[in-house]
């Protein structure tokens, strides 16, 4: 990962439509010398048609972003197999195979 460098680039994030469960998405970027003006530019450029409900801008120099070198550590399934659903699945099949649990004698 690395720090973003551009101080005059703002990445734009927005949420569109009435579906409240929709995530906020990255939609593009604007170039501006000022954060509030960047927000207005984003509004004019990226919310022209769809009904926008959330609009954020983030200065690129304030962001930490992944690069190609991070691919390996970001690929959870490859390195952390015990987190995958197949792990519990295997255990579940083993449980079924083991048959019914004998009640604790009283």
């Amino acid at each position: 990962m690395r720090r973003g460098t551009e101080t005059d680039v703002y990445d734009v994030f927005a949420k569109f439509g009435d579906d409240a469960t929709e995530p906020i998405r990255w939609v593009g970027s604007v170039r501006s010398g000022d954060p509030e003006l960047a927000w207005h530019a984003a509004k004019e450029i990226y919310t022209r048609r769809e009904y926008c409900t959330v609009l954020w801008v983030a200065q690129r120099s304030g962001m930490v972003v992944s690069g190609p070198e991070d691919e390996a550590i970001l690929r959870t399934p490859d390195r952390l197999t015990y987190r995958l659903p197949t792990g519990p699945g295997r255990r579940r099949r083993a449980r079924i195979k083991a048959g019914p649990v004998q009640p604790v004698p009283r």
Binding site: S29, R31, S32
Partner: protein, 305 residues
């Protein structure tokens, strides 16, 4: 004529590998992607000028609003594609300065203006439909930031397209004989210009073109031209425009369009030496760069502080 079409697997492969800005790009790819994005940014920013000068001549308030929306949209497209170019190392100032100082060429269709309000509708309809056909091919290209920008742009182009249909329809239904005649003439004037806009006929080696091999150019000029004619000719016919078979005619046997070949010599001359309004657009861009220079410098100095 036998068409040499590459096997489908090759085609799939050419467009299958997509790239993000931060990925390692093949040699020459970054420059090629920057070129296509900056070329479009300029086309959007200059291409809007012939429309912008009609804003205060629009015949009614509703048309004026629609035209203002279109002008703003196109400038927005200029920003979005300029951002794609800037991330690849080509600044928007450079794009505009290179144009103002005569170093970059402009697409043939942006060298003209409109002589009448009745001309604007059919011309805009021809321009928008060809842009949509172009973009729908280009958004399948391999550079993802550019493809995303195009998908945003397409939504707005569709609005412009319907606006242009409505505008032409109004002239054709409510207009006087003279006005309808002007719409007809506009179609005949602009059709060859737009046929030329798609670029020269495919050469035997178009697949060797680096832009094509990188999958930045997706379809060949002739393919796009044919797709466009299929889309747009029936639209004009429905609007009551007479499409002279000598200009464009569908050949049922070949399942392809025959069309009057654009004047390629004149097209090349226009692009090289400048068409009727080229000088106006250049000085407009030059003036705007000068007028806004102090504000731009102050804003960028503040951002860097």
């Amino acid at each position: 004529m036998t068409l040499t079409t590459p096997p489908l697997t090759d085609e799939d492969e050419r467009l299958a590998r997509k790239y993000e800005l931060w990925e390692e790009l093949p040699e020459g790819y970054r420059e090629a992607a920057a070129r296509i994005a900056s070329f479009q940014a300029l086309a959007e920013l200059v291409g809007v000028l012939p429309f912008a000068e009609w804003v205060d001549r629009a015949p009614d308030y509703e048309r004026k609003q629609m035209l203002v929306a279109k002008v703003q949209d196109e400038v927005g497209h200029g920003h979005v594609t300029a951002r794609v170019a800037e991330d690849l190392g080509v600044g928007r100032e450079q794009i505009l300065v290179d144009f103002a100082e005569g170093r970059t060429k402009l697409l043939n269709i942006f060298h003209y203006g409109f002589e009448s309000w009745e001309e604007l509708g059919p011309a805009a309809l021809l321009m928008n439909s060809s842009a949509i056909v172009q973009f729908q091919a280009l958004d399948q290209g391999t550079y993802l930031p550019y493809a995303r920008a195009l998908r945003k742009i397409e939504k707005e182009e569709s609005f412009h397209y319907h606006h242009a249909i409505d505008l032409t329809h109004q002239t054709m239904v409510r207009g006087s004989v003279a006005q309808r005649q002007r719409a007809q003439e506009a179609f005949e004037l602009w059709l060859p210009r737009l046929l030329a806009y798609f670029g020269p006929p495919d050469s035997d080696t178009y697949q060797q073109n680096p832009m094509y091999r990188f999958g930045l150019k997706v379809k060949s000029n002739d393919t796009l031209r044919q797709e466009w004619l299929t889309k747009i000719v029936p639209v004009f016919q429905e609007l009551g425009i007479f499409v002279d078979p000598a200009l464009a005619r569908f050949d049922e046997d070949r399942q392809a369009w025959d069309y009057a070949s654009p004047d390629w010599v004149e097209t090349k001359r226009i692009i090289k030496e400048g068409g009727p309004r080229y000088g106006d657009w250049r000085s407009k861009i030059q003036l705007s760069l000068e007028r806004n220079g102090a504000y731009r410098d102050a804003a960028l100095a503040r951002a860097a502080a």
